[in-house]
């Protein structure tokens, strides 16, 4: 109804939006601009110097070291996104349609696992996978050689940690959109002669696509910025971009470099999101033309 149409002179609209706008402006938009500006400065003896030049940028683009780390970050993020997205589909479906009686309890168990301190959980993985950890200790006691599973402190361990910490996002978004699908549509497909798998592929998957996409986007973005898993589980052997950024602020105290690397990562993230968005849009348009 027309009453909900608000003008910017409306008190309720101002009350509900202005504090947020001020907050986001002051502490999100301005900092982003600041970051962009800082990347054109330099450092001397651990102090910021307002040089207004492109030194940091030429540095970032000319050193193969940075390229390698950015590439590794991007591939790790993409692999992690793919794993989380694909794994979430049977999990979400099974939760909703096989264990539906328990789906509330399962959801709560997942939310709990998801919301507990990530640092502690990552540490828990170290204790589990360690040479003398739960896994290897158990294997040894049933006759395997000592330290049979030697995965900790490798990129694979990093990936386990990343998938562990990010999988809940894709499960939740996928389950949300699958739960909204009218079961009669699936029955109609079965009635029309589709096998279970066909009905799933032809009806459930396309209709759950918004949730699957949303989860994938979230996971991709979050996986670009991890340094906890590479450091704690990967043992720092193959650092990712976030570690580089952390170091440039912390150990090297080179803020312009940190700012530039941050921007590079933001741009990579935005570029992948833009491609994904364009693909989704193109597909939606093609779908509507059919």
């Amino acid at each position: 109804m027309a009453e909900m149409q608000k003008s910017w002179r409306d008190g309720a609209l101002r009350l509900s939006t202005l504090p947020l706008l001020v907050l986001m402006g002051l502490f999100f938009v301005i900092p982003l601009i600041m970051t962009a500006l800082l990347s054109f400065q330099g450092t001397q003896y651990y102090r910021l110097v307002w040089t207004w030049d492109l030194n940091v940028w030429t540095d970032v683009f000319s050193q193969i070291h940075y390229w390698k780390i950015m590439w590794r970050t991007l591939t790790m993020a993409l692999v992690c996104t793919l794993l989380c997205t694909v794994l979430a589909i049977p999990i979400a479906y099974g939760m909703l349609h096989r264990l539906s009686r328990w789906s509330d309890q399962i959801t709560l168990l997942m939310v709990f696992a998801f919301l507990t301190d990530a640092v502690l959980k990552t540490f828990g993985w170290v204790l589990f996978l360690d040479r003398s950890g739960v896994l290897n200790g158990t294997l040894e006691s049933i006759g395997f050689p000592p330290a049979a599973v030697n995965v900790l402190f490798s990129p694979n361990a990093t990936m386990i940690g990343m998938v562990y910490n990010l999988l809940p996002y894709t499960i939740f978004t996928t389950a949300l959109s699958m739960a909204r699908i009218d079961r009669d549509l699936v029955l109609a497909a079965r009635d029309a002669g589709a096998t279970r798998l066909r009905a799933f592929v032809e009806v459930t998957l396309p209709l759950a696509k918004p949730g699957i996409w949303a989860g994938a986007v979230l996971v991709f973005v979050l996986s670009l910025g991890v340094f906890l898993e590479p450091k704690v589980m990967g043992g720092g052997t193959s650092p990712l971009a976030a570690e580089l950024i952390r170091q440039s602020f912390e150990t090297r105290v080179n803020w312009p470099l940190g700012a530039a690397l941050t921007l590079v990562l933001i741009v990579i993230g935005a570029a992948v999101l833009a491609v994904a968005g364009a693909l989704a849009f193109w597909q939606a348009r093609r779908g509507s033309n059919d």
Partner: protein, 277 residues
């Protein structure tokens, strides 16, 4: 492939994946709980002797208590601000229509699309400048702001979802019955979206409580539990952390099941309404 075989295979994959993922999710959690009861200084399996000595050691650790205090203060402040802002934001998101609404939505959702570390780092740069001007150094205050920026979008989304089924005519009916705008809000709207607000607050609290990246970048020398643990395990695994984990899991579990039962009650009420048309 026969239909029966297909069904059995599907059941196997679906049941199996849910059970597998639950085990996967609880591996580190169970590991921590197990190790919290070890007697040994070294966290190696199998545990030869059980004790609660590390709980004692943890409770005697002054850094633990100060981190706990900081975590609690940070989480409470972030929850209050993020929930209040989230209520306003959710109204603007889903109940009002206004010019530049899309811009507003994008701006208030954008922090969710940022890797947390970058969000923290970007703010850190600005806070350092501000701190230079105002003669402050980053600490709990900047961590609170960082958490609010990061958590508010979650609150907006959760409360908006609660508002999805909201019937606008209830507001008109209240107005028709003589209610002022404030009375409508207090008597009708807030009680009806209360489950959403409550879950947003709990969610906000837990997100803030367990947050690592933003606290790490913004809290200066102030330690919260996650950064306290991180700095501890970075130097070598100390046996007090499993005890710490076990102790902090309990309140989170209680909070989450509180939200669960509340949501279910609200959902049931709505379901009956729909069933009766």
């Amino acid at each position: 492939m026969t239909d029966q075989m297909e069904k059995r295979l599907a059941d196997f994959v679906l049941y199996g994946s849910v059970i597998a993922v639950l085990i996967f999710f609880y591996i580190p959690i169970a590991t921590l709980i197990l190790f919290s009861f070890t007697q040994s200084r070294f966290l190696s399996w199998p545990i030869s002797e059980f004790s609660t000595r590390w709980y004692g050691a943890l409770l005697a650790d002054r850094d633990f208590w100060s981190s706990l205090g900081n975590s609690a203060l940070l989480a409470v402040l972030a929850t209050v601000f993020a929930t209040l802002l989230g209520i306003g934001g959710a109204f603007a998101w889903s109940r009002y229509k206004f010019r530049f609404q899309w811009g507003f939505r994008i701006l208030t959702f954008a922090p969710l699309l940022f890797p947390q570390l970058l969000l923290g780092v970007v703010m850190l740069l600005w806070f350092s400048v501000l701190a230079g001007w105002l003669n402050l150094s980053p600490g709990l205050w900047s961590a609170v702001i960082g958490h609010v920026i990061y958590i508010t979008p979650f609150c907006i989304v959760i409360i908006s979802v609660q508002m999805q089924g909201y019937d606008d005519t209830l507001d008109y009916a209240a107005e028709d019955a003589g209610a002022t705008r404030w009375q409508i809000l207090r008597e009708i709207t807030l009680p009806l979206i209360w489950p959403g607000i409550f879950s947003a607050a709990i969610f906000a609290f837990l997100l803030s409580w367990g947050n690592f990246y933003i606290t790490y970048s913004l809290s200066g020398s102030t330690r919260t539990l996650p950064t306290f643990v991180f700095s501890g395990i970075a130097v070598g695994s100390s046996p007090i952390y499993p005890a710490l984990a076990t102790l902090t899991f309990l309140p989170a579990l209680v909070l989450i099941f509180a939200v669960g039962s509340l949501r279910k009650r609200a959902a049931r009420r709505r379901l009956i309404k729909i069933a009766e048309g």
